[in-house]
Symmetry: D2
Subunit: 338 residues, 4 copies
Amino acid sequence: MIVVMNKRASAQNIAEVISRVEADGYQAHLSEGDERTIIGLVGESPTPLREDNYQSMLGVEKVMRVTVPYKLASREYHPQPTLVGLNGSKVGENKVLMIAGPCSVESREQIIEIACAMKEAGATALRGGAFKPRSSPYSFQGHGEEGLKWLAEARERSGLPIVTEVMDPGLVEMVCEYADVLQIGARNMQNFTLLHAVGESQHTVLLKRGLANTMEELLMSAEYIMSHGNQRVMLCERGIRTFEKYTRNTFDINAIPVLKARSHLPVIADPSHAVGYSEYVTSVALAAVAAGADGLIVEVHPDPAKALSDGRQTLNYDQFRDMVARVQKVAEAIGRSA
Amino acid sequence: MIVVMNKRASAQNIAEVISRVEADGYQAHLSEGDERTIIGLVGESPTPLREDNYQSMLGVEKVMRVTVPYKLASREYHPQPTLVGLNGSKVGENKVLMIAGPCSVESREQIIEIACAMKEAGATALRGGAFKPRSSPYSFQGHGEEGLKWLAEARERSGLPIVTEVMDPGLVEMVCEYADVLQIGARNMQNFTLLHAVGESQHTVLLKRGLANTMEELLMSAEYIMSHGNQRVMLCERGIRTFEKYTRNTFDINAIPVLKARSHLPVIADPSHAVGYSEYVTSVALAAVAAGADGLIVEVHPDPAKALSDGRQTLNYDQFRDMVARVQKVAEAIGRSA
Amino acid sequence: MIVVMNKRASAQNIAEVISRVEADGYQAHLSEGDERTIIGLVGESPTPLREDNYQSMLGVEKVMRVTVPYKLASREYHPQPTLVGLNGSKVGENKVLMIAGPCSVESREQIIEIACAMKEAGATALRGGAFKPRSSPYSFQGHGEEGLKWLAEARERSGLPIVTEVMDPGLVEMVCEYADVLQIGARNMQNFTLLHAVGESQHTVLLKRGLANTMEELLMSAEYIMSHGNQRVMLCERGIRTFEKYTRNTFDINAIPVLKARSHLPVIADPSHAVGYSEYVTSVALAAVAAGADGLIVEVHPDPAKALSDGRQTLNYDQFRDMVARVQKVAEAIGRSA
Amino acid sequence: MIVVMNKRASAQNIAEVISRVEADGYQAHLSEGDERTIIGLVGESPTPLREDNYQSMLGVEKVMRVTVPYKLASREYHPQPTLVGLNGSKVGENKVLMIAGPCSVESREQIIEIACAMKEAGATALRGGAFKPRSSPYSFQGHGEEGLKWLAEARERSGLPIVTEVMDPGLVEMVCEYADVLQIGARNMQNFTLLHAVGESQHTVLLKRGLANTMEELLMSAEYIMSHGNQRVMLCERGIRTFEKYTRNTFDINAIPVLKARSHLPVIADPSHAVGYSEYVTSVALAAVAAGADGLIVEVHPDPAKALSDGRQTLNYDQFRDMVARVQKVAEAIGRSA
């Protein structure tokens, strides 16, 4: 960390910063310029550095962090990629994971039928929401535990592992009984109570990036989960909020190579939420794979116009099969498979 | 709601939209232009309208909502202002509420001392966090229930009602035992599980706007709480995330008059988080009151440089007293008191 | 266009809107709901519709546009793709255009050497700035007309057509003498005086999207140019400003398929400015091509660490050659060539 | 400036950075931590430091600027406020400047009538656009030089100085003949060619902040003008683009005290464009004055519903008179006058 003193900082101000640095167990290196003094903190200490503490001291102009604040999630401290086991395969290896299914689990018959169709079309996992985060209290909120049971049955029948969202820390244990992967939705990326609970569960987690969160914040949320000893975390880029009105969100394609470089965790792309219109989903999916995504999660429904939620961004079966075929070609072009 | 068909929509597409409108219990009014047909939905029906459902139908170009999606929180349906009782006074009336206190409750002695000082300086409620949402798992997370007990003691001693954050739906009941007002933090504005829980508690709620959320989303979150019969909701503007780097967030001053016009709920301003630097807090507080805010919530600490969190944006006692004096003058200039 | 009256609109208010509609040469279709009246404007008229005019009338709640405000740039009115001729090839056809070169033209020798190297490495056009838009008046501003002369010489020697920025409407004529393609930079996307000037020039234009502009605004700026009879416009996505700090901008990959669907103009991708770090440029370039971009514009320099500007995002020759080879594979995977 | 080397930087990489520092005329101070080396640049040199140059060197992780990049506009180097003379008064002193008038100059009679009405209602300057930046080529573009002549006549008749926009660098000289203050619009804040031209004119400038620009970028644009020896610059906050849909833009109230602290230039607030709806303009105006703005610029028209542009955000005469009265009270409450 670097503390930059302002032009008017007194010798007393500087001495107090140095005292605090030493009290925190670090050494202070001074660079005295003509205009201002810069204090570098070096060394190791069990006390984590808190920028806040220094920022509020007299005479301090700004405090700049040098190292990343996430050690467990960082590739700098863990150069080898983490491979997350899922149903016998390893996410993060050569093969691109393909998670597909409806936005919401609508009925037992529906989810079983879709699961089998997805399996046949080339999917390697099934998605489907039993608990739905909806911005209106008057919208369909999901079938809850009954939906989870149907998902479990769909897994039995199709052989596909289940990815489903959990919203309530009090229900993490219950969702773990049915699901292979716990999804943390974008609106819950900084629901720290929930992150603690899924961390403690030691269950595999798909952590979605929040609508207006930076990659650093995403990695800090992964760090929350990992700080409980749970290394089974997959990051998910699902589009961020921007000023653009022709699409639901903006897929941050830069995030694919940058997250892969900054972290050892697998990175999954959600083109459905990121663009919001089914006719553009395949183009964004191809782009994500070309940029190095380890997997895709897409919304598929036999009749999107009748889906209980997110119909506008949902592929039908034919569109999904077409997407899989094209994804396979692009994956091969960059030396992977799908 | 208005459904705009695209240029290439067939008669069959139009007929299907009309069927769904009627199945939903509304009437369809057609405007047939030279280029496209527009279908207006009129009438009343118990079925809530779901834009999604129409947006995914064949031949539909876009769906536009005409009425607000929040009825309970809307001034259109409830023209009189809601006054929220707090410790004998009514928030939303002429007098500006003044909530002050430290970011975190740090110790029993500290919070009692601050409470008494705030009371004397003119505050009408005490803030202080016992559960802290921190973006890093390595930061101070608050003293938990013990902190709540200290807050309750501070209330005894100072006579100030308590405003404190709740993060875990499982702890709402417990926090209600100690707090007068439950604060929902910005990062939890769309934590729907938590909104349900505070709605059911029937306790007074201070609902903070999320970092990248619109006013409509804020009002939808208020609607979540109110849909459980809890009308005791205060809205809080605390700054939104923008590209600006010289401040922590950007205080949306427009939100003060706009929320007052759109909703009957009281509107509170948090200048501390909104600007992030103590030297600018008073200017933003004055602006909020001039624009019509019903209250302020500000961070105050006897020695901000030693605060366990948010020291950079925290006023000391002298600064707070100065702010109160200046707020009173501006409040009087617009015909209110503080 | 649709005019939604508010709940309290009087019969008089409605009558006045209808009068204005008719005065503008359109017909008014009324839908009278229980709560409010909606007025649809239909028909054709030489008077362009101005939302502003209606929005400010008494009793009007909101005005919603139904048709796109850009007719010349819109695919709806011009379904066939526009192919822009450049040096014998046609941009927008199967082959992906590859524009490469330094951020700034630094010297005569440098630009000639780079041009020949780019040609050999597979580039189909040369970029290089003679007039540089810099946020600081103290930064290098480019070599001006001398730089243009060196570019012309580089074209002679390499056979590559020249893409270079023009900033001053008064210099458009001069830049046209040297350049094959006039680049409008992101900060000038809404410099309407400049758009008029390049429109009148009838020269080929590469129009970059502004940092915080929507696709609709980009297409309106294209419309400005095209309204002077100049159809030779290529759109360029170069990244938008977001909250992300690990990258310089955020490449809006969604914009590739959406612009292709909404407009008939070719779409070029600039991964260099969009991500800002050379190590990520190739991943973003591959993504853009996979998503359907008609071309790439990338910054290349023999020794990026010594470049006079933008060195951090600039590829060296080896990196560029590697990118070209990988782009070719991805292009083939989607049925194109590069 | 501080250069942070990455963990894997070699001694050779460090030596090269030091060489460049010395070649640029500065001294390098090394702080060698356990994990990485930090190099501070100290001293004075005629060579301006270019972050770019260092950022692209091998082994460099990041480069952090310590001093502000704008010296002429900075209060750090110029502690006394700059007072800009205008028609006998001084902007930046105690009295709040009140600029009022229509968005566009519509006719000779209109602008003369408004000028006299504004004068009587308490305005101290007249605004009105003769050249209008419009996002559509089909919208009204202003009356051009004829409009300027009408403005000059309105000045004669009312005694109010004229504020009007200039968009074309080639027309700066002509606009200077008629206008007292040249307005640079938000979309031209980084039109560097135009900034050079108004800098050279030595005329008073009202520089509006761009829709998505930071305060630092605004101050850099002021620096462009001032680098030509023109100190007569007023900064203008007119709202930034955010995700909010209930308002046209978001007024950045924080910018008022922050710009006043960072720069010695006067700061003017434009509540009309910032909020976009006339019913909220006064609240935002009061807030701006309470926060310390040196002036207001508001759109006023005798019949906003008939205005040729921006009618929705325009006050009528009664609303303006009411605003002036309330602004005066708030100004007095903070020890100023209006």
